[in-house]
């Protein structure tokens, strides 16, 4: 059962990193426009126009 000594902290660290990732996303306003984010992914203005053949 000694394996738990380091497995448990790893599990906790993973969970905490998830929590902090969420809190960071919340803080940077990534949840302020949920509907917009769903639509922005479809727009492709950020792609350089492909060279015409």
């Amino acid at each position: 059962m000694n394996v738990l000594i380091y497995l448990l902290p790893i599990a906790l660290a993973l969970g905490l990193s998830g929590l902090f990732a969420f809190l960071w996303a919340l803080k940077t306003g990534q949840y302020s426009d949920i509907d917009g984010a769903a639509l922005r992914v479809l727009s492709d203005d950020d792609i350089e126009e492909a060279p015409k053949r």
Binding site: L12, G15, L23, L26, D33, G36, A38, L42, S43
Partner: protein
């Protein structure tokens, strides 16, 4: 003279020589609008940032100070087919945003903790029936404590703070048993862990917080959404006024007006502020204020009120101090009175918790005493009592009502009804009498062509298209009939007389009778009906413009009556104008010519007779009546003061949202009651088990999540209610 638009009121410095402004944008239809709007605004030289929030339809823009005029950006939006309106977030909305973030953070922490503790707990539960060693179990329990204690200290704050406030005020709310349960459960679990016990309740305590926070966050999100939409609508409605700066005219937002400003009010515009007329002569339509549809003649010295429609001539107005006029003062006095007389309606959740909280505490205390008397040790009796507290903690109860409210308010939103307050749904469901105002509520807020069916259609279309070139209110009413929205080129407006234009070489005229060569016949003008004339190629049309009923008014009144509601009309207009409306709708009880105070008195009488009145009104004169009624609705075209009083606002030109709101609210109310019963049944089953001392942490976890899920799923049935 070109007029400049001054929007400095709405711009704010954002540092580094950059200024920013927020706009509420109207006309956004689909996802492609995001790129179009942002692209168009960013292409203006000097603009450094343009970001559209699609969820709340707001555009944030920033530019190098002095490089761009704000009005220029509005014009760019206009050119692309959108209307942008400068926007100042209300303080309440900002506070709510802060609160929402706090709740979400608490929810995230509680969620994280609940999942990780569950991970440990499930191991312990399965280990307890197989081969876990006491050392491993202790290790897991200490690890749980390490997660649970800080998480509860953080995520529990909303409950602890609220419970503390209640206790300080010497009362009990739902948060008192919750806080007590969580704190005792955690404390007991730490003690048990130190004693190498088999059971701890870290998981129950944290899961309880997690479920409760979901309920809170949902409730909050719903209110925030409606608040944001209401804020946008207010911004879209906010108009600009023409203010004299010396001899020049400057367009300023109405919010920037101060007392003693001199304004120009053109025909066809709404009066932006209360004031005294300095010069000019005109007629004003005060139906939004008093409900009276007949127009009033005003000359220099007259007092006019914000919201009146200026009809025939340009007026110069001196703004008087806000709220300084007799009418507004009277309305406000009545409002105070009506609001204080309104017995505080107790929300269903409050009523439930008022019964619930003492019962929970008493049951736990009795359990403790009972076990002690029966000869159990203090430790065992205490553990059982705490288990009772945990199991009775109103998890399902706390979700039962917010979950239904969120789903129902979403359904209401689809039916074009926007709620102003959280408990509106419950009160709407209780209404048994509907009192309508007439002007602007049963009738459309703007006058319409009344005799369209009796006129030559082609000629009427020409007249309507010509009307697009005029700002006169009668022409504006006629212009709504136009199918082609492009005005004729080269139309000339002669102020106070009419407009003329050449169509295919012949002159067409629209305006007053003499302007169109029609003999003036005074007998045509009856109460509430005005005529506008059109002549073309020797043909003339007399077009009657009057207040018309909303297209579905008759059907909606019929349906309301079929649902057992008593319908009444209380109007400030003259009885000649009210009677035909009441007859058309088949409403037997109506009163006309009422002052605001009389409306309140009539509503009070209804209340005293045990009626629950839903008041639907739009005028400034209705505001006190709305406040006095059990629940109130107002159309979006209503006066600002009135809208602020209403519990909900409905959009669009139809009356159907009034019917929908009642149908949806009744359905939601039924589901809330059902949910409360589900929660009660759960307690009836779980509490005896807890009192008997048979609740293990596993049973507590299953019971809590099971009942929470059940009420949430039941709440989803409030979706897609049709009337």
């Amino acid at each position: 003279m070109t007029e400049t638009l001054d929007l400095s009121l709405y711009t704010k410095p954002a540092g580094n020589g950059v200024v920013a402004m927020d706009l509420a944008v109207d006309g956004i239809a689909c996802g492609a609008c995001i790129a179009r709007i942002e692209g168009a605004v960013k292409s203006v030289p000097g603009v450094t940032e343009a970001r559209l929030n699609f969820t709340n339809r707001r555009l944030h823009i920033a530019w190098a100070d002095g490089a761009v005029k704000p009005a220029q950006i509005l014009q760019v939006l206009e050119d692309n087919g959108y209307h942008g309106h400068p926007f100042e977030p209300l303080r309440a909305e900002q506070e709510q945003a802060v609160e929402a973030r706090r709740l979400t953070r608490c929810l995230a922490v509680a969620g994280f903790a609940a999942m990780n503790i569950m991970l440990l707990s499930v191991s312990v539960w399965s280990g307890n029936v197989t081969d876990i060693t006491a050392e491993t179990r202790d290790f897991f329990h200490w690890a749980s404590a390490l997660i649970a204690l800080p998480a509860a200290a953080y995520a529990g704050r909303p409950f602890f703070a609220s419970a503390w406030r209640a206790l300080k005020a010497r009362s009990l709310n739902m948060d008192v048993p919750i806080s007590l349960g969580v704190i005792l459960a955690l404390g007991m679990s730490v003690v048990e862990t130190a004693k190498h016990a088999e059971h701890t309740y870290f998981d129950s305590a944290i899961m309880l917080l997690f479920f409760l926070l979901i309920g809170r966050a949902l409730d909050h999100a719903m209110r925030r959404k409606t608040r944001a939409i209401a804020g946008n609508l207010a911004a879209l409605k906010a108009e600009t006024a023409h203010r004299f700066a010396g001899d020049e005219l400057v367009s300023v937002p109405v919010g920037a007006l101060k007392a003693a400003d001199r304004l120009l009010i053109k025909p066809g515009e709404r009066v932006p502020a209360d004031g005294t007329v300095l010069g000019g002569m005109s007629e004003v339509d005060e139906s939004l204020i008093t409900g009276e549809t007949a127009r009033r003649k005003v000359t220099a010295g007259a007092t006019i009120y914000a919201g009146s429609m200026n009809y025939s001539g340009a007026l110069t107005l001196k703004v008087t101090a806000a709220g300084g006029t007799a009418l507004i003062d009277e309305i406000e006095k009545l409002l105070d009175k009506a609001a204080s007389a309104k017995s505080r309606v107790m929300r269903l959740a409050d009523r439930a918790s008022r019964v619930y909280a003492p019962v929970v505490h008493l049951t736990a205390a009795l359990t403790l005493i009972g076990w002690l008397v029966a000869g159990a040790s203090l430790h065992d009796a205490l553990v059982t009592a705490i288990a009772v507290l945990i199991i009775t903690c109103p998890c399902a109860l706390a979700l039962a009502i917010p979950a239904v409210q969120v789903v129902a308010s979403g359904t209401l939103f689809q039916a074009n009804v926007i709620l102003n307050s959280g408990d509106t749904i419950e009160r709407l469901a209780e209404a048994d009498t509907v009192v309508f105002d007439k002007t602007g509520t049963l009738t459309l807020p703007e006058p319409r062509v009344a005799n369209a069916t009796g006129l030559d259609g082609e000629l009427l279309q020409k007249a309507a298209r010509l009307a697009l070139s005029s700002r006169h209110p009668l022409a504006a009413a006629l212009a709504r009939e136009a199918v082609t929205r492009a005005p004729f080129g080269g139309a000339v407006e002669e102020p106070g007389r009419g407009v003329r234009v050449n169509i295919d070489g012949a002159e067409a005229r629209l305006g007053a009778a003499e302007f169109c060569g029609v003999p003036c016949s005074s007998n045509r003008e009856s109460a509430g009906v005005s005529h506008i004339y059109f002549s073309y190629l020797g043909q003339t049309l007399a077009i009657a413009i009057s207040q018309t009923l909303r297209s579905d008014a008759v059907a909606v009144i019929e349906a309301l009556r079929a649902r057992g509601l008593d319908i009444q009309i209380l109007s400030g207009d003259r009885s000649e104008a009210v009677e035909p409306v009441a007859q058309a709708l088949g409403v037997a009880y109506w009163k006309a010519g009422l002052k605001p105070a009389e409306k309140i008195a009539l509503i009070q009488t209804l209340r005293n007779n045990g009626r629950r009145v839903l008041m639907v009104g739009d005028g400034l004169n209705d505001a006190p009546a709305l406040a006095a009624a059990h629940v109130s609705l107002s159309p979006i075209s209503a006066a600002d003061v009135t809208q602020a009083q209403a519990d909900a606002v409905f959009l669009g030109e139809r009356l159907k949202p009034v019917l929908d709101s009642i149908v949806i609210a009744r359905r939601a109310r039924a589901l809330m009651t059902e949910n409360l019963w589900l929660a009660a049944i759960y307690n009836a089953v779980a509490v005896p088990v807890a009192i008997a001392g048979a609740v293990t942490p596993l049973i507590a976890a299953l019971a809590m999540s099971g009942s929470s899920m059940l009420v949430t799923l039941n709440a989803l049935r409030a979706r897609g209610v049709k009337s």
